[in-house]
Protein backbone atom coordinates (compact mmCIF):
# COMPACT_ATOMS: atom_id res chain seq x y z
CA UNK A 1 0.00 0.00 0.00
CA UNK A 2 1.26 3.41 -0.91
CA UNK A 3 0.52 6.65 0.84
CA UNK A 4 -1.19 9.36 -1.19
CA UNK A 5 -1.36 12.98 -0.11
CA UNK A 6 -4.86 14.42 -0.25
CA UNK A 7 -4.15 17.96 0.82
CA UNK A 8 -2.33 20.02 3.39
CA UNK A 9 -4.35 19.78 6.59
CA UNK A 10 -4.60 23.56 6.74
CA UNK A 11 -6.35 23.58 3.36
CA UNK A 12 -8.84 20.89 4.30
CA UNK A 13 -11.11 22.36 6.98
CA UNK A 14 -13.91 20.57 8.85
CA UNK A 15 -17.16 20.28 6.90
CA UNK A 16 -15.42 19.92 3.54
CA UNK A 17 -14.65 16.97 1.30
CA UNK A 18 -12.12 16.23 -1.42
CA UNK A 19 -12.28 13.97 -4.45
CA UNK A 20 -8.96 12.45 -5.49
CA UNK A 21 -7.87 9.67 -7.82
CA UNK A 22 -5.73 6.82 -6.53
CA UNK A 23 -4.66 4.03 -8.88
CA UNK A 24 -7.33 5.14 -11.36
CA UNK A 25 -10.07 4.90 -8.74
CA UNK A 26 -11.91 7.90 -7.37
CA UNK A 27 -11.71 8.32 -3.60
CA UNK A 28 -13.71 10.79 -1.55
CA UNK A 29 -12.21 12.07 1.70
CA UNK A 30 -14.31 13.87 4.30
CA UNK A 31 -13.26 16.07 7.19
CA UNK A 32 -16.00 15.69 9.80
CA UNK A 33 -15.35 17.87 12.81
CA UNK A 34 -11.60 17.32 12.50
CA UNK A 35 -11.78 13.60 11.80
CA UNK A 36 -10.92 12.32 8.34
CA UNK A 37 -12.70 9.50 6.53
CA UNK A 38 -12.14 8.00 3.11
CA UNK A 39 -14.37 5.94 0.84
CA UNK A 40 -14.11 4.78 -2.72
CA UNK A 41 -16.40 7.15 -4.55
CA UNK A 42 -18.68 4.51 -5.98
CA UNK A 43 -21.93 3.53 -4.35
CA UNK A 44 -22.01 -0.29 -4.06
CA UNK A 45 -25.70 -0.28 -5.00
CA UNK A 46 -25.69 1.27 -8.50
CA UNK A 47 -22.48 3.21 -8.77
CA UNK A 48 -23.60 6.73 -7.81
CA UNK A 49 -20.91 9.29 -6.96
CA UNK A 50 -20.82 9.51 -3.16
CA UNK A 51 -18.90 12.80 -3.10
CA UNK A 52 -22.11 14.54 -4.20
CA UNK A 53 -24.17 12.98 -1.43
CA UNK A 54 -25.46 14.66 1.70
CA UNK A 55 -23.84 13.86 5.05
CA UNK A 56 -26.62 13.05 7.44
CA UNK A 57 -27.23 11.00 10.57
CA UNK A 58 -28.62 7.61 11.43
CA UNK A 59 -32.32 7.84 12.20
CA UNK A 60 -33.71 4.72 13.81
CA UNK A 61 -36.90 3.73 15.49
CA UNK A 62 -37.24 0.99 18.08
CA UNK A 63 -40.99 1.04 17.50
CA UNK A 64 -43.48 3.37 15.79
CA UNK A 65 -43.40 6.80 17.36
CA UNK A 66 -39.99 6.44 19.02
CA UNK A 67 -36.92 7.75 17.28
CA UNK A 68 -33.22 7.96 17.91
CA UNK A 69 -30.92 10.09 15.81
CA UNK A 70 -27.26 9.19 16.16
CA UNK A 71 -24.03 9.36 14.14
CA UNK A 72 -24.94 12.89 13.09
CA UNK A 73 -22.81 14.00 10.15
CA UNK A 74 -21.33 10.51 9.78
CA UNK A 75 -23.74 8.91 7.35
CA UNK A 76 -23.24 9.54 3.63
CA UNK A 77 -26.41 9.36 1.55
CA UNK A 78 -25.90 8.49 -2.12
CA UNK A 79 -27.12 11.30 -4.42
CA UNK A 80 -28.97 8.81 -6.60
CA UNK A 81 -31.20 6.40 -4.70
CA UNK A 82 -30.48 7.52 -1.17
CA UNK A 83 -28.62 4.45 0.09
CA UNK A 84 -26.90 5.39 3.34
CA UNK A 85 -23.44 4.33 4.54
CA UNK A 86 -21.51 4.83 7.75
CA UNK A 87 -18.44 6.79 6.69
CA UNK A 88 -16.42 5.07 9.44
CA UNK A 89 -17.05 1.53 8.26
CA UNK A 90 -18.79 1.78 4.88
CA UNK A 91 -21.65 -0.26 6.28
CA UNK A 92 -25.19 0.32 5.03
CA UNK A 93 -28.01 0.20 7.52
CA UNK A 94 -31.04 -0.68 5.44
CA UNK A 95 -31.77 -4.31 5.78
CA UNK A 96 -32.95 -5.66 2.46
CA UNK A 97 -35.37 -8.57 2.30
CA UNK A 98 -33.26 -11.69 2.04
CA UNK A 99 -34.12 -14.82 0.13
CA UNK A 100 -33.21 -16.85 3.17
CA UNK A 101 -33.14 -15.76 6.76
CA UNK A 102 -29.75 -15.36 8.37
CA UNK A 103 -28.72 -14.22 11.81
CA UNK A 104 -28.09 -10.49 11.77
CA UNK A 105 -25.16 -9.20 13.75
CA UNK A 106 -26.61 -6.89 16.35
CA UNK A 107 -24.62 -4.90 18.82
CA UNK A 108 -25.58 -2.21 21.26
CA UNK A 109 -24.62 1.34 20.39
CA UNK A 110 -25.80 4.32 22.41
CA UNK A 111 -29.54 4.20 22.38
CA UNK A 112 -30.06 1.97 19.40
CA UNK A 113 -29.86 -1.41 17.83
CA UNK A 114 -28.13 -1.42 14.48
CA UNK A 115 -29.14 -3.81 11.73
CA UNK A 116 -26.60 -4.04 8.95
CA UNK A 117 -27.69 -3.71 5.36
CA UNK A 118 -26.56 -5.67 2.32
CA UNK A 119 -24.09 -3.15 0.93
CA UNK A 120 -20.79 -1.95 2.22
CA UNK A 121 -18.99 1.01 0.68
CA UNK A 122 -15.24 0.51 0.47
CA UNK A 123 -13.39 2.56 3.05
CA UNK A 124 -9.80 3.71 2.83
CA UNK A 125 -7.54 4.74 5.68
CA UNK A 126 -6.87 8.44 6.06
CA UNK A 127 -4.53 10.11 8.51
CA UNK A 128 -2.75 13.36 9.09
CA UNK A 129 0.99 13.07 8.63
CA UNK A 130 3.29 16.05 9.08
CA UNK A 131 0.23 18.23 8.60
CA UNK A 132 -0.77 16.52 5.34
CA UNK A 133 -3.89 14.42 5.02
CA UNK A 134 -2.88 11.11 3.49
CA UNK A 135 -4.83 8.15 2.22
CA UNK A 136 -3.44 4.66 2.31
CA UNK A 137 -4.61 2.60 -0.65
Amino acid sequence: MARHVVAAAADFPPGTRRLITINDRAVVVFNVKGEYFGLYNKCPHNGGSLVQGVLTGLLQSANPGNYTYTKQGEIIRCPWHGWEFDIRTGQSFCRAIRAKARPLPVRVEPGSDIVEGPYKAETVEVRVENDYVVVEA
Binding site: G47, V54, P79, W80, A96
Partner: protein
Protein backbone atom coordinates in the same frame (compact mmCIF):
# COMPACT_ATOMS: atom_id res chain seq x y z
CA UNK B 1 -34.18 9.39 -40.94
CA UNK B 2 -31.59 6.73 -40.14
CA UNK B 3 -32.42 4.40 -37.30
CA UNK B 4 -30.48 5.64 -34.28
CA UNK B 5 -27.99 3.35 -32.65
CA UNK B 6 -27.83 2.93 -28.91
CA UNK B 7 -30.39 2.57 -26.18
CA UNK B 8 -33.91 3.97 -26.44
CA UNK B 9 -34.99 5.75 -23.26
CA UNK B 10 -38.73 6.01 -22.66
CA UNK B 11 -38.70 8.56 -19.85
CA UNK B 12 -36.57 11.72 -19.68
CA UNK B 13 -37.71 14.81 -17.80
CA UNK B 14 -36.84 18.27 -19.07
CA UNK B 15 -37.35 21.20 -16.71
CA UNK B 16 -37.66 24.94 -17.14
CA UNK B 17 -34.80 27.15 -15.95
CA UNK B 18 -37.53 29.55 -14.87
CA UNK B 19 -41.23 30.07 -15.63
CA UNK B 20 -40.28 32.80 -18.10
CA UNK B 21 -38.78 30.14 -20.41
CA UNK B 22 -42.31 29.63 -21.75
CA UNK B 23 -42.96 33.34 -22.40
CA UNK B 24 -41.98 33.21 -26.09
CA UNK B 25 -45.00 30.97 -26.76
CA UNK B 26 -47.50 32.30 -24.22
CA UNK B 27 -49.98 35.07 -25.04
CA UNK B 28 -49.46 38.06 -22.78
CA UNK B 29 -52.82 37.34 -21.13
CA UNK B 30 -51.49 34.09 -19.72
CA UNK B 31 -48.10 35.44 -18.72
CA UNK B 32 -49.93 38.00 -16.57
CA UNK B 33 -52.43 35.42 -15.35
CA UNK B 34 -49.60 33.16 -14.22
CA UNK B 35 -47.94 36.05 -12.42
CA UNK B 36 -51.11 37.23 -10.70
CA UNK B 37 -52.97 34.01 -10.03
CA UNK B 38 -50.52 31.16 -10.55
CA UNK B 39 -51.56 27.81 -11.92
CA UNK B 40 -54.10 26.10 -9.72
CA UNK B 41 -54.00 22.32 -9.63
CA UNK B 42 -56.87 19.94 -9.08
CA UNK B 43 -55.54 19.19 -5.61
CA UNK B 44 -56.67 22.01 -3.35
CA UNK B 45 -54.29 23.91 -1.08
CA UNK B 46 -51.09 22.87 -2.81
CA UNK B 47 -49.10 24.60 -5.53
CA UNK B 48 -47.05 21.61 -6.50
CA UNK B 49 -46.88 18.01 -5.47
CA UNK B 50 -49.00 16.88 -2.55
CA UNK B 51 -45.94 15.00 -1.20
CA UNK B 52 -42.57 16.54 -0.53
CA UNK B 53 -39.87 14.67 -2.45
CA UNK B 54 -36.89 13.09 -0.76
CA UNK B 55 -34.38 14.99 -2.88
CA UNK B 56 -34.46 18.59 -4.15
CA UNK B 57 -36.82 18.81 -7.16
CA UNK B 58 -37.00 15.00 -6.90
CA UNK B 59 -33.68 15.13 -8.77
CA UNK B 60 -30.27 13.54 -8.50
CA UNK B 61 -28.00 15.76 -6.49
CA UNK B 62 -25.24 15.26 -9.01
CA UNK B 63 -27.43 16.47 -11.90
CA UNK B 64 -27.33 20.23 -11.36
CA UNK B 65 -26.08 21.75 -14.63
CA UNK B 66 -22.70 23.49 -14.25
CA UNK B 67 -24.16 26.69 -15.68
CA UNK B 68 -26.86 26.78 -12.96
CA UNK B 69 -30.55 25.93 -12.91
CA UNK B 70 -32.39 22.88 -11.63
CA UNK B 71 -31.62 19.32 -12.62
CA UNK B 72 -32.79 18.57 -16.17
CA UNK B 73 -32.91 22.22 -17.30
CA UNK B 74 -29.86 22.17 -19.58
CA UNK B 75 -29.79 20.54 -23.00
CA UNK B 76 -26.00 20.41 -23.07
CA UNK B 77 -25.63 18.87 -19.62
CA UNK B 78 -28.37 16.32 -20.31
CA UNK B 79 -26.52 15.43 -23.50
CA UNK B 80 -23.30 14.91 -21.53
CA UNK B 81 -24.59 13.28 -18.33
CA UNK B 82 -27.34 11.11 -19.82
CA UNK B 83 -27.17 10.61 -23.59
CA UNK B 84 -23.39 10.40 -24.08
CA UNK B 85 -22.55 8.79 -20.75
CA UNK B 86 -25.11 5.99 -21.09
CA UNK B 87 -25.16 5.51 -24.87
CA UNK B 88 -28.75 6.69 -25.24
CA UNK B 89 -29.47 6.94 -28.96
CA UNK B 90 -33.08 8.04 -28.76
CA UNK B 91 -35.19 9.28 -25.86
CA UNK B 92 -38.61 10.70 -25.10
CA UNK B 93 -39.12 13.90 -23.14
CA UNK B 94 -41.93 13.79 -20.59
CA UNK B 95 -42.27 17.30 -19.19
CA UNK B 96 -43.82 17.32 -15.72
CA UNK B 97 -44.19 21.06 -15.78
CA UNK B 98 -47.47 22.35 -14.27
CA UNK B 99 -49.83 22.47 -17.21
CA UNK B 100 -51.93 19.37 -17.81
CA UNK B 101 -53.88 19.30 -14.58
CA UNK B 102 -54.35 23.06 -14.23
CA UNK B 103 -57.93 23.80 -13.20
CA UNK B 104 -58.46 26.82 -15.41
CA UNK B 105 -58.85 24.86 -18.64
CA UNK B 106 -57.95 27.76 -20.93
CA UNK B 107 -54.82 28.39 -18.90
CA UNK B 108 -54.07 24.66 -19.04
CA UNK B 109 -54.42 24.64 -22.83
CA UNK B 110 -52.18 27.71 -23.22
CA UNK B 111 -49.49 26.18 -21.01
CA UNK B 112 -49.61 22.87 -22.87
CA UNK B 113 -49.23 24.58 -26.25
CA UNK B 114 -46.27 26.60 -24.94
CA UNK B 115 -44.61 23.52 -23.43
CA UNK B 116 -44.97 21.69 -26.72
CA UNK B 117 -43.23 24.53 -28.57
CA UNK B 118 -40.55 24.69 -25.88
CA UNK B 119 -39.81 20.96 -26.13
CA UNK B 120 -39.67 20.99 -29.92
CA UNK B 121 -37.67 24.18 -30.37
CA UNK B 122 -35.38 24.25 -27.34
CA UNK B 123 -34.77 20.52 -26.87
CA UNK B 124 -35.48 18.46 -29.97
CA UNK B 125 -34.16 21.00 -32.48
CA UNK B 126 -30.94 21.19 -30.44
CA UNK B 127 -30.51 17.46 -29.86
CA UNK B 128 -31.59 15.04 -32.58
CA UNK B 129 -31.61 12.07 -30.18
CA UNK B 130 -34.55 13.56 -28.29
CA UNK B 131 -38.27 13.43 -29.08
CA UNK B 132 -41.07 15.44 -27.50
CA UNK B 133 -44.39 14.34 -26.02
CA UNK B 134 -47.56 16.13 -27.02
CA UNK B 135 -48.65 17.53 -23.67
CA UNK B 136 -52.43 17.96 -23.62
CA UNK B 137 -54.89 19.60 -21.20
CA UNK B 138 -56.51 16.22 -20.54
CA UNK B 139 -59.38 17.49 -18.40
CA UNK B 140 -60.58 19.22 -21.59
CA UNK B 141 -60.56 16.24 -23.96
CA UNK B 142 -61.83 18.09 -27.06
CA UNK B 143 -59.08 20.68 -26.77
CA UNK B 144 -56.64 17.84 -26.12
CA UNK B 145 -57.70 16.14 -29.34
CA UNK B 146 -57.18 19.42 -31.20
CA UNK B 147 -53.67 19.69 -29.67
CA UNK B 148 -52.85 16.16 -30.85
CA UNK B 149 -54.05 16.95 -34.37
CA UNK B 150 -52.06 20.19 -34.35
CA UNK B 151 -48.75 18.34 -33.83
CA UNK B 152 -49.53 14.90 -35.26
CA UNK B 153 -47.64 15.37 -38.50
CA UNK B 154 -44.55 16.72 -36.73
CA UNK B 155 -42.03 13.92 -36.20
CA UNK B 156 -40.34 15.78 -33.37
CA UNK B 157 -43.23 14.38 -31.29
CA UNK B 158 -43.26 10.66 -30.48
CA UNK B 159 -46.23 10.24 -28.16
CA UNK B 160 -49.17 11.92 -26.43
CA UNK B 161 -48.55 12.43 -22.71
CA UNK B 162 -51.19 11.91 -20.04
CA UNK B 163 -50.67 11.58 -16.30
CA UNK B 164 -52.05 8.67 -14.30
CA UNK B 165 -54.02 10.70 -11.79
CA UNK B 166 -56.85 12.16 -13.82
CA UNK B 167 -60.12 13.42 -12.37
CA UNK B 168 -62.02 10.42 -13.76
CA UNK B 169 -60.67 6.95 -14.46
CA UNK B 170 -58.87 7.13 -17.81
CA UNK B 171 -61.19 4.71 -19.61
CA UNK B 172 -64.13 7.06 -18.94
CA UNK B 173 -65.83 8.15 -22.16
CA UNK B 174 -65.18 11.80 -21.43
CA UNK B 175 -61.52 11.12 -22.40
CA UNK B 176 -62.31 9.20 -25.59
CA UNK B 177 -61.64 12.15 -27.93
CA UNK B 178 -58.00 11.90 -26.81
CA UNK B 179 -57.72 8.21 -27.74
CA UNK B 180 -59.59 8.79 -30.99
CA UNK B 181 -57.18 11.53 -32.08
CA UNK B 182 -54.14 9.47 -31.06
CA UNK B 183 -55.35 6.35 -32.87
CA UNK B 184 -56.17 8.41 -35.95
CA UNK B 185 -52.66 9.91 -35.96
CA UNK B 186 -51.11 6.53 -35.13
CA UNK B 187 -49.20 8.09 -32.25
CA UNK B 188 -48.80 6.17 -28.97
CA UNK B 189 -50.33 7.47 -25.73
CA UNK B 190 -47.98 7.44 -22.74
CA UNK B 191 -49.52 7.59 -19.29
CA UNK B 192 -46.88 8.72 -16.82
CA UNK B 193 -47.32 8.29 -13.07
CA UNK B 194 -48.29 11.37 -11.02
CA UNK B 195 -50.77 14.16 -11.63
CA UNK B 196 -53.21 16.06 -9.46
CA UNK B 197 -56.57 14.37 -9.79
CA UNK B 198 -58.45 16.16 -7.05
CA UNK B 199 -58.78 12.81 -5.29
CA UNK B 200 -56.59 11.39 -2.54
CA UNK B 201 -53.71 9.24 -3.75
CA UNK B 202 -55.28 6.10 -2.30
CA UNK B 203 -58.87 4.95 -2.55
CA UNK B 204 -59.08 5.22 1.24
CA UNK B 205 -57.72 8.72 1.62
CA UNK B 206 -54.41 10.46 2.02
CA UNK B 207 -51.43 8.31 2.96
CA UNK B 208 -49.02 9.69 5.54
CA UNK B 209 -45.71 9.07 3.80
CA UNK B 210 -44.06 9.88 0.47
CA UNK B 211 -43.12 6.22 0.22
CA UNK B 212 -46.80 5.31 0.21
CA UNK B 213 -47.36 7.74 -2.63
CA UNK B 214 -44.49 6.10 -4.57
CA UNK B 215 -46.07 2.68 -4.13
CA UNK B 216 -49.44 4.19 -4.97
CA UNK B 217 -48.40 4.81 -8.58
CA UNK B 218 -48.56 1.07 -9.24
CA UNK B 219 -52.02 0.92 -7.67
CA UNK B 220 -53.26 3.95 -9.61
CA UNK B 221 -51.97 2.48 -12.84
CA UNK B 222 -53.68 -0.85 -12.20
CA UNK B 223 -56.98 0.96 -11.65
CA UNK B 224 -56.37 3.02 -14.78
CA UNK B 225 -55.46 0.07 -16.98
CA UNK B 226 -58.45 -1.88 -15.70
CA UNK B 227 -60.69 1.04 -16.61
CA UNK B 228 -59.20 1.37 -20.12
CA UNK B 229 -59.75 -2.33 -20.78
CA UNK B 230 -63.21 -2.70 -19.25
CA UNK B 231 -64.65 0.49 -20.68
CA UNK B 232 -63.70 -0.83 -24.12
CA UNK B 233 -61.08 1.69 -25.27
CA UNK B 234 -58.97 -1.04 -26.92
CA UNK B 235 -62.06 -2.65 -28.44
CA UNK B 236 -63.03 0.72 -29.93
CA UNK B 237 -59.46 1.56 -31.14
CA UNK B 238 -57.71 -1.76 -31.81
CA UNK B 239 -54.54 -0.07 -33.10
CA UNK B 240 -54.12 2.30 -30.15
CA UNK B 241 -50.71 1.92 -28.49
CA UNK B 242 -50.65 2.62 -24.77
CA UNK B 243 -47.43 2.92 -22.76
CA UNK B 244 -47.51 2.96 -18.97
CA UNK B 245 -44.55 5.00 -17.79
CA UNK B 246 -42.95 4.79 -14.33
CA UNK B 247 -45.82 2.74 -12.99
CA UNK B 248 -44.00 -0.51 -12.29
CA UNK B 249 -44.77 -3.61 -14.33
CA UNK B 250 -44.22 -6.57 -12.03
CA UNK B 251 -47.90 -6.32 -11.07
CA UNK B 252 -49.10 -6.73 -14.65
CA UNK B 253 -49.15 -10.55 -14.98
CA UNK B 254 -51.12 -10.82 -11.75
CA UNK B 255 -53.62 -8.17 -12.84
CA UNK B 256 -54.14 -9.88 -16.18
CA UNK B 257 -54.80 -13.20 -14.50
CA UNK B 258 -57.32 -11.67 -12.17
CA UNK B 259 -59.09 -9.73 -14.91
CA UNK B 260 -59.39 -12.86 -17.05
CA UNK B 261 -60.73 -14.88 -14.14
CA UNK B 262 -63.54 -12.42 -13.48
CA UNK B 263 -64.22 -11.81 -17.15
CA UNK B 264 -64.99 -15.49 -17.66
CA UNK B 265 -67.83 -15.38 -15.17
CA UNK B 266 -68.99 -11.77 -15.53
CA UNK B 267 -68.73 -11.17 -19.24
CA UNK B 268 -72.46 -10.68 -19.62
CA UNK B 269 -71.89 -7.39 -17.78
CA UNK B 270 -69.35 -6.26 -20.39
CA UNK B 271 -70.56 -7.74 -23.67
CA UNK B 272 -68.67 -5.06 -25.59
CA UNK B 273 -65.41 -6.88 -24.77
CA UNK B 274 -64.83 -9.39 -27.56
CA UNK B 275 -61.41 -10.48 -26.33
CA UNK B 276 -60.28 -11.43 -22.86
CA UNK B 277 -58.78 -8.54 -20.87
CA UNK B 278 -55.28 -10.01 -21.12
CA UNK B 279 -55.61 -10.28 -24.90
CA UNK B 280 -56.31 -6.55 -25.15
CA UNK B 281 -53.42 -5.80 -22.82
CA UNK B 282 -50.96 -7.99 -24.71
CA UNK B 283 -52.04 -6.36 -27.96
CA UNK B 284 -52.25 -2.70 -26.95
CA UNK B 285 -50.13 -2.05 -23.86
CA UNK B 286 -46.41 -1.62 -23.10
CA UNK B 287 -44.50 -0.64 -19.97
CA UNK B 288 -41.34 1.32 -19.29
CA UNK B 289 -38.96 -0.26 -16.81
CA UNK B 290 -37.93 2.35 -14.26
CA UNK B 291 -38.13 2.08 -11.28
CA UNK B 292 -37.31 -1.63 -11.51
CA UNK B 293 -38.07 -3.78 -8.51
CA UNK B 294 -34.93 -5.18 -6.90
CA UNK B 295 -35.80 -8.55 -5.38
CA UNK B 296 -32.94 -10.18 -3.52
CA UNK B 297 -33.09 -13.00 -6.02
CA UNK B 298 -32.91 -11.10 -9.34
CA UNK B 299 -34.04 -14.20 -11.22
CA UNK B 300 -37.56 -13.49 -10.00
CA UNK B 301 -37.42 -10.47 -12.34
CA UNK B 302 -36.51 -12.77 -15.21
CA UNK B 303 -39.63 -14.78 -14.38
CA UNK B 304 -41.74 -11.62 -14.59
CA UNK B 305 -40.17 -10.62 -17.91
CA UNK B 306 -40.93 -14.07 -19.29
CA UNK B 307 -44.45 -14.06 -17.88
CA UNK B 308 -45.37 -10.60 -19.12
CA UNK B 309 -43.38 -10.98 -22.35
CA UNK B 310 -39.98 -9.57 -23.30
CA UNK B 311 -41.76 -7.68 -26.09
CA UNK B 312 -43.74 -5.55 -23.60
CA UNK B 313 -41.11 -3.81 -21.47
CA UNK B 314 -38.93 -0.92 -22.60
CA UNK B 315 -35.96 0.62 -20.84
CA UNK B 316 -36.41 4.03 -19.23
CA UNK B 317 -33.99 6.03 -17.09
CA UNK B 318 -36.24 8.69 -15.52
CA UNK B 319 -33.30 11.11 -15.72
CA UNK B 320 -32.71 13.43 -13.84
CA UNK B 321 -34.87 12.11 -11.00
CA UNK B 322 -33.31 10.66 -7.90
CA UNK B 323 -34.63 7.16 -8.59
CA UNK B 324 -32.88 7.12 -12.01
CA UNK B 325 -32.01 3.68 -13.44
CA UNK B 326 -28.59 3.21 -15.03
CA UNK B 327 -29.04 1.00 -18.14
CA UNK B 328 -25.89 -0.96 -17.30
CA UNK B 329 -27.39 -1.97 -13.95
CA UNK B 330 -30.97 -2.96 -14.76
CA UNK B 331 -30.77 -6.42 -16.29
CA UNK B 332 -28.89 -8.06 -13.40
CA UNK B 333 -30.01 -11.57 -14.26
CA UNK B 334 -29.36 -13.97 -17.12
CA UNK B 335 -30.94 -12.80 -20.39
CA UNK B 336 -30.22 -13.56 -24.03
CA UNK B 337 -28.83 -11.04 -26.48
CA UNK B 338 -32.21 -10.97 -28.25
CA UNK B 339 -34.06 -10.29 -25.00
CA UNK B 340 -31.73 -7.45 -24.09
CA UNK B 341 -32.00 -6.00 -27.57
CA UNK B 342 -35.80 -6.03 -27.34
CA UNK B 343 -35.72 -4.36 -23.94
CA UNK B 344 -33.19 -1.65 -24.75
CA UNK B 345 -34.08 -0.94 -28.38
CA UNK B 346 -36.36 -3.22 -30.34
CA UNK B 347 -39.60 -2.82 -28.41
CA UNK B 348 -39.41 0.97 -28.46
CA UNK B 349 -38.65 0.92 -32.18
CA UNK B 350 -41.77 -1.18 -32.69
CA UNK B 351 -43.93 1.13 -30.57
CA UNK B 352 -42.63 4.52 -31.68
CA UNK B 353 -41.73 3.36 -35.17
CA UNK B 354 -40.59 6.01 -37.56
CA UNK B 355 -40.79 8.93 -35.13
Amino acid sequence: MNTPTGIWDGDIHPYLRSATDLDPWLPKQWIEHQRNYGSLRQTPLVNGSAYHKSQPNAGRRDAYPPEGGVQGSSVSFLREQLLDAHNIGWGILNPLVASQGVRNLDHSAALCRAINHWQAEIWVDAEPRLRASIVVPYEDPETSAAEIRHWAGDNRFAQVLLLSRTSFLPGNRRYWPIYEAAAEANIPVGIHAFGNSGWPVSSSGWSSFYMEEMIGHAQTSQAGLTSLVIEGVFERWPTLKLVLVESGFTWAPSLMGRLDKHWKTLKSEVPHLKLSPSEYIRRNVWWTSQPMDEPENRRYLADIFNWLGWDRIMFSSDYPHWDFDDPSRVIMFPATHEQKHAFFTGNAQAVYGSR
